[in-house]
Homo-oligomer: 582 residues x 2
């Protein structure tokens, strides 16, 4: 009972042994993460098309809930770039940005996404995320990085543009080029340049100056804070907001409000598919971060329980003015590197952010949107990794095709079609590859009991005996291939008396393949040729025994191919109606 | 050049050796098939919602063209029940039955279907048909049989009903029950009863009376002709058409007309998906018949060339007043049993039908539709085979699910959704099965070099060495499963120093699986555990060599698991940075 509760509420597990050392380590990590999260949360809210406070709110209740239900000790949950992009794309289709309906749709999206994740977790269906292959994820993340960076150009230029695909965004920006605000451009370009410099050069410089590594890390991660402070001060001091520089403006000073997601059937059905997509992509990103960090401390995470943790976090976001969240890569790595030992670090971070939401929001009134755009651009360009194209090209053309299609369609037709096409092409290419399995005709390596491909090795063969090693599971996609292949091989040589199918690499025989085997057996019988099997695995044999195939088999099942060879060669015609071994 | 031409035009091959014996055998077969086809062609045209002559026309040019381009020597091409049903369902959505547009849509459907088949054949894409698993086909054919029989009830009852799904048809018939014409019912029920009796009992009865087997067969197959003649005479003699019995009426006396399929973009796009479906289902039916018959004479057919043969036949149908055709089961078996030796038998059949179309059509003026419906019902009920449900249930639940879903959805939502859902569920279930592959932890069988599952056999193990035999190809759907499994196993036991993955049944490692292996390698390295592979197949090894994985591997690749065992047990810590074997 308690054990069972602990499975679903991991806090009961690590909470029992929480001590002073863990407390101080967690506190230090929390302070560092909080400082980094304040500008990041504003920026991602901007990316999602939501008011800045939504980003902060989305980092408070979700962190608490994940700390209770999640299994990773270092994962930091909150708004992330890709999920923010997906959110903007999804709710942009049901509501106008800036309206109350838009914010409510974001809550609904978080609610649906959370509910779906909890459902998957309770039914232990986390494996569904595996349908997203690595090439599809890599292609999608890269394309998303490009889309996100492009979507922020309008803030850097100070124009109002829109669109959710690359062609839409670019043409919208071009048509608004006359409205460019040059002061905004100066702020945006300067902030971007500064942040790039911080990212690339600050840490080595600080290290050279003798700053300790952890401190250098913290200062580097605090780069956005510096950009935020300096550009905010500049706008305030020179009254740049009166000269067309768009600023964040009023942000309510409050704890996360209690909110209700919209639950109208129309809204729910419009957002269901995007919510599923966001859930799965968020889950995949989160689990891979969590697994990587857990391995470093020889811990493990439970992917199905992670679904429940992330689900709870999203449901929390839905009721506290947030939007969809997941475990973020950069914030989790910072948290881990800063020494977080338990999910309590997340709770302290949430408290820090709650204080910021109550006390610090007036300070960001003059913060220019261009600065936030700059932090987003610099953050997401690290997601763009076109080397996946060359890596997959070198390894396998099928994987390359999946990456290329995903990137292209995500950029041109949008995130949802991009991912769906990527999944579809991965599945189709896998089925295609297994539809023409490798089948080797083998012969005996003289003086041994081993059999090798007759086209690659010097082996003994017997014109009356054809031995075919099937290097693939047999199922409907390739069942008929085997029928054709056996028929072609047997009609080629008139002397063929026996065909042996070697099943050492056959892990499954489905009903279609069973019927193909029956057809092969029947056709070979019509030609007066025996059909035999060898090296059939236990589970496959168990399955075959449930059918009539073994009874009808015009031949035998041999434990090893060498047995088959000894029995079927030499004498002119052996008795094949005797017992069947199993 | 000539060889190449012969590949695409098989008539050049068998035509050279055509002799007098073949001629006489083919002629006899043609006469028998022609007699059987006349009522059958009318009936299937009725089923497709087309005028009766369309069924005859669809059996003339297509047979000629298939004789030239097809590879099966016994296949008889023409209208078949399932394709006629699919045709009615497809063109019922774009035109009203009985209008000129309806007949034109049928031509367009044949044209699109033919074009698609030729395309598949030229690009040798016949394997695409394999996506239809045997359970899906069996379920679909059974459900189609039920749908077709139900669709004919209205002709037996003499009411006008409509609908393309079982609930639609039944409710439509119930709402028209008051219009039932009792004379029609008498004709329909009598014809159905007679035909059932012929099918079940005539052949044994004739054999008992000493009639030779072939002749008994022919007489049995001619049963529909007897029903047609007697009911036609009855209607004519008693003027039953004036008492509400619906009759075939005027059928033009002519050779197949030259027709043009409608090519408006709207029509083409509306019929494209149904055309693809018809092509693939027709192709699957045709190829399985052709293969079965070819095997009986130790011949073989070329599935890709079959696509071209069937494609040409359908294009022929589109320009000669027909509708989609394929190789039919019953007509091909009759042709084969009657002794047809070459496709020339088909050509003679076509000539016979052409004569019938010119000379005999006035004779069917008084033929009641109820008789045609009776021939359809008796023919298609042999397609209904619910035993597939119990067969698949016994063999594998996944295959059972595919059959059940296909049957249910075909009946309730229609043929297109039924097939699509069947394909989708087959693919998903296959992916699900391979997503949780069987992985056995193995140990050494004492005194041998064999390794067996530690949970099933008494074997030697070493707490520092974990050997896992992976019984499945590794690809994106199961890549993460292996990550989790290895991590779980290694975090369980603190003494683990080495993990060996035995790849004897791994036929593929895709890019996702490669990245998972890299992640496993990295995580094990972080835990100071070595990762090794054994028994890697040649093609998999070749692929792995294209990546950095083998260079980064924190361990070795062993040719056999026994090598791995000898190297990794015994001494406290072996040197794992030495050479990599391949």
């Amino acid at each position: 009972m308690i054990e069972n509760l602990r499975r679903y509420v991991p806090i009961l597990d690590w909470g029992r042994t929480y001590d002073r050392t863990a407390l101080s380590n967690d506190m230090i990590a929390a302070v560092i993460v909080t400082i980094m999260l304040i500008p990041q949360s504003f920026a991602y809210a901007l990316l999602a098309g939501l008011p800045p406070e939504a980003g902060i709110y989305a980092s408070i209740a979700p962190i608490f809930l994940y700390a209770i239900f999640g299994t990773s000790r270092a994962l930091a949950v909150g708004p992330v770039a890709v999920v923010s992009l997906l959110t903007a794309s999804a709710i942009g289709q049901v509501a106008e940005q800036g309206t109350a309906g838009y914010a409510v749709a974001a809550l609904t999206l978080a609610f649906l996404s959370g509910g779906f994740l909890v459902l998957l977790g309770v039914f232990r269906l986390g494996f569904l995320a595996n349908f997203l292959s690595h090439p599809v994820i890599a292609g999608f993340i890269t394309a998303s990085g490009i889309l996100i960076a492009t979507s922020q150009l309008k803030h850097i230029l100070g124009v109002s543009a829109h669109g959710h695909t690359l062609p839409e965004m670019l043409s919208s920006i071009f048509s608004h080029l006359s409205e460019v605000n040059f002061i905004t451009v100066v702020i945006g370009v300067a902030a971007t340049g500064f942040l790039f410099w911080v990212r690339k050069n600050l840490k080595p410089t600080l290290k050279k100056l003798g700053v300790p590594s952890l401190m250098a890390d913290v200062l580097t991660k605090a780069g956005p804070v510096a950009a935020v402070v300096s550009t905010t001060v500049a706008v305030w001091a020179f009254g740049l907001d009166d000269r067309g520089v768009k600023i964040v403006g009023d942000v309510p000073q409050s704890l996360p409000p209690l909110t209700l997601p919209g639950l109208s059937p129309d809204l729910l059905s419009a957002l269901l598919i995007p919510a599923i997509l966001i859930s799965i992509i968020g889950f995949v990103e989160s689990v891979s971060v969590a697994q990587t960090l857990a391995a470093k401390k020889r811990q493990r995470i439970d992917p199905d329980q992670e679904l429940i943790g992330l689900g709870a976090a999203n449901i929390g976001a839905a009721f506290t003015g947030g939007y969809p969240v997941t475990g973020g890569f950069s914030r989790s790595v910072v948290n881990f590197d800063a020494g977080a030992e338990t999910p309590a670090a997340g709770i302290y971070t949430a408290i820090g952010l709650a204080i910021a939401a109550m006390a610090l929001t007036p300070l960001v009134y003059y913060l220019p949107n261009a600065t936030l755009a700059a932090t987003i651009i610099v953050a997401v360009l690290s997601l763009v990794d076109l080397s996946i194209l060359s890596k997959t090209w070198g390894y396998s053309r099928a994987d390359f095709a999946a990456v290329a299609v995903t990137i292209l369609l995500t950029l041109v037709l949008g995130v949802e079609i991009g991912v769906a096409a990527g999944v579809a092409i991965s599945v189709l290419l896998h089925l295609y590859k297994t539809s023409r399995p490798h089948v080797a005709e083998v012969g005996l390596v003289p003086g041994t009991q081993h059999f090798r491909n007759i086209h690659r090795h010097k082996v003994e063969t017997d014109p009356a005996l054809v031995s075919l090693r099937v290097d693939e599971s047999l199922y409907f996609v390739n069942a008929r291939f085997l029928e054709d292949l056996v028929q072609r091989r047997v009609t080629e040589g008139c002397d063929v008396r026996h065909v042996v199918l070697i099943f050492s690499a056959v892990n499954e025989v489905d009903f279609s393949a069973l019927e193909s085997l029956e057809a092969i057996n029947q056709r070979l019988k019509d030609m007066d040729v025996g059909l035999h099997l060898s090296e059939v695995k236990g589970p496959v044999m168990d399955r075959l025994k449930r059918s009539h195939f073994l009874n009808d088999l015009n031949g035998k099942v041999f434990l090893s191919q060498y047995d088959a060879w000894q029995n079927l060669t030499g004498d002119d015609r052996i008795n094949i109606d005797s017992n069947i071994e199993g």
